[in-house]
Symmetry: C2
DNA sequence: GTACAATCGTCAGGTTGCCTTGTAAGGTTT
DNA sequence: AAACCTTACAAGGCAACCTGACGATTGTAC
């Protein structure tokens, strides 16, 4: 940092690399999803597709898993209802609550999306070799799941729950 | 995807892992930066600290490096001017333009920030071993800089230019 | 069994981080 | 000097989150 007059080409930090890689994968996924005919699904909606169970799930639980507020997830669910991917059915066990369920179309979209994500990963594996990809996965999993030396404790719940 | 009734614990995709790791590093960095007394610097400001040269830089060039519009970067520069980290001085070579320069305080902040990012990476290296970190870096660099099989071409310019 | 507190979802409104469009001032070209 | 680029800025919009404050239930304590 203090060698030389300044950093002409700024140093690639771990953060910038991780962020760039994330964006790269995300962009690829978005493109594939769009090409598959699901242009109306935005990346934000992923938190619903990712966590919702087939037998339905309450908003509160979904929000908890996604690490977001009920209001925010509620908005996304509104979108997906309008788009016909999910529906809210009254919870038979609690008349306050509603169960958020995937429609048939939603189930299909979920299947396709997870498939495309797996394809992206497969392409990476082709480029870098399956061995390296396994290493990468292991490393990232360890970095994320373990107690990081300095991460804020409240983050740990969210960490696996952010993007689709 | 279609084995078993459904995926109870959703599968960790490459995307979710990368995203989680990014967030983890970012959170750690933010915390460290705050503890170092720079709570007023937001992550978004990183695109200025990251790319600005010591001898100053025009808004247009900065925006180009950051992969953002001039207006967006201009706003961030406004913030940093208010906070005393940068200043706009008239460009002697073009009276339309202004050079965005770090103040002494800004230079110090930049030094500290890059140092803290390096510290985060060192801590990762301690946890996983220097060898694995090198592998991780190499892999990410390759994934990001090479022509990805399916990435949008316009992304490639931006890819290394997003977060601090 | 009635009062009280907690929980479920929603409404209203705000913040952040970006973008697009338009405009005025300063250069460049011929 | 007329036409055309730039440079920066101002105004306004949008997406993706947030907080706070409800009404409608439900579970809990007297």
């Amino acid at each position: 940092m203090s060698d030389g007059p300044h950093t002409p080409h700024p140093p690639e930090t771990l953060l910038s690399l991780l962020d760039a890689a994330t964006e790269s994968v995300l962009a690829e996924f978005r493109r594939d999803l769009e090409e598959a005919g699901y242009a109306d699904i935005r990346p934000t909606h992923g938190c619903v597709f990712r966590f919702v169970r087939d037998d339905g799930m309450r908003l509160t639980e979904l929000a908890g898993l996604a690490g977001m507020t009920k209001q925010s997830v509620g908005e996304l669910v509104d979108d997906l209802v309008d788009l016909g991917y999910v529906e809210r059915i009254p919870d038979p066990e609690d008349r306050r609550a509603k169960l958020i369920c995937l429609t048939d179309r939603g189930i299909e979209a979920q299947r396709v999306a997870f498939g495309l994500l797996a394809d992206v990963e497969d392409r990476w594996a082709e480029r870098f070799g399956a061995t390296r990809m396994k290493q990468l996965r292991k490393l990232l999993e360890a970095a994320v799941s373990e107690d990081a030396p300095g991460a804020a404790p409240e983050l740990r719940e969210r960490r696996l729950a952010s993007v689709s």
